[in-house]
Symmetry: C2
Subunit: 158 residues, 2 copies
DNA sequence: GAAATCCTACTCGGATATGGAGTGTCCGAGTCTACGTGG
DNA sequence: CCACGTAGACTCGGACACTCCATATCCGAGTAGGATTTC
């Protein structure tokens, strides 16, 4: 899995506390990561429609939906792509003992197991929203976290 | 996910029907894949203890356990490695609003979601055994598949 | 005929090149803000 | 005092290098089997 997924999720959580657009540079500073690379991730989130980009002097990024309507799965798929990790190359139809094409209408057992596992994985990611992530962080670091975040995001930095 | 996982699984299913060691070259011919690359996958299966290698003139590979005692997860982990896809870099402890180390004894919400999803994925793969895969293939291609495989694997080829 | 020996051929195992995707970076196009100016 | 125009600076967006891992391959170490030779 791409490492940028973690950054993107953290950014979504931070944007939950934002009331005005937050530039990519500020999000990068908040998390102490490479600004130029984070910009790429945010770009992908923008393409996926999860965040809205505002151009101009006081521009930046903003969530397009309430945090409880953005699932972790959506963020992951925005960065890593929506395609499944396993791709069946139809090995059963190759070689000297190849199965007849008409007996291969349904995916083979191997592919089916992989697809089911992939489905279970996605299901687990779909169950959790960005709002849940923020709530968890508040539980660990104190309920004032949201306000602290908002304050830091909106304040002007040297 | 590594594409070799598919090959390895097909090989395990084929080895289910084998009564004597099957060389890597024959398995490659059976599935019409690159012999030298398949050899690497079988080597990893051997390292993981799923198959036993027999050297010498009529050597090859053999399952070390009954097929109903080999889960798909074991094969996947043998090829792709046992480590989880997601690695938490502890972003929460970095930057100007870093969380205090003592409040980070438990994994953060993001990591937890990822680990749970990973667990669900592995659980789904653990439920299915190589024997199940063979049974499924027999259901699709006919019950004589196992004998056909054994015959082809043991016969001498040009 | 049987046993010991040697040779051959075949097997796996690890070390070795290559390609593509992920990683990381940069600069240009676009646009909002703010200031200055004129009425 | 207000409206307008212009300049400026800041933003995102896409195009451009680099690195690392998955892919693909090869050759050497080791061994079982069989043929040969000898008793």
């Amino acid at each position: 899995m791409s490492g940028g997924v973690e950054w993107a999720l953290h950014c979504c959580v931070a944007l939950t506390a934002a009331t005005e657009p937050v530039p990519a540079v500020r999000l990068a500073e908040l998390h102490d990561v490479s600004p130029s690379y984070l910009a790429k991730q945010l770009q992908e989130l923008s393409r996926a429609g999860l965040v809205r980009s505002v151009q101009g002097k006081s521009g930046g990024y903003l969530l397009t939906r309430p945090a409880d309507q953005i699932t972790v799965l959506e963020v992951v798929e925005a960065i890593d792509g929506p395609s499944a990790a396993f791709v069946c190359t139809e090995v059963r139809q190759r070689g000297p003992l190849a199965a007849s094409p008409e007996s291969c209408t349904a995916p083979c057992g191997i592919a089916r197991v992989m697809y089911e596992a992939d489905h279970a994985w996605r299901q687990a990611l779909r169950r959790v929203t960005v709002a849940d992530l923020l709530a968890d962080a508040e539980r660990a670091q104190g309920p004032q976290l949201r306000d602290t975040l908002r304050g830091w995001l909106t304040s002007t930095h040297g």
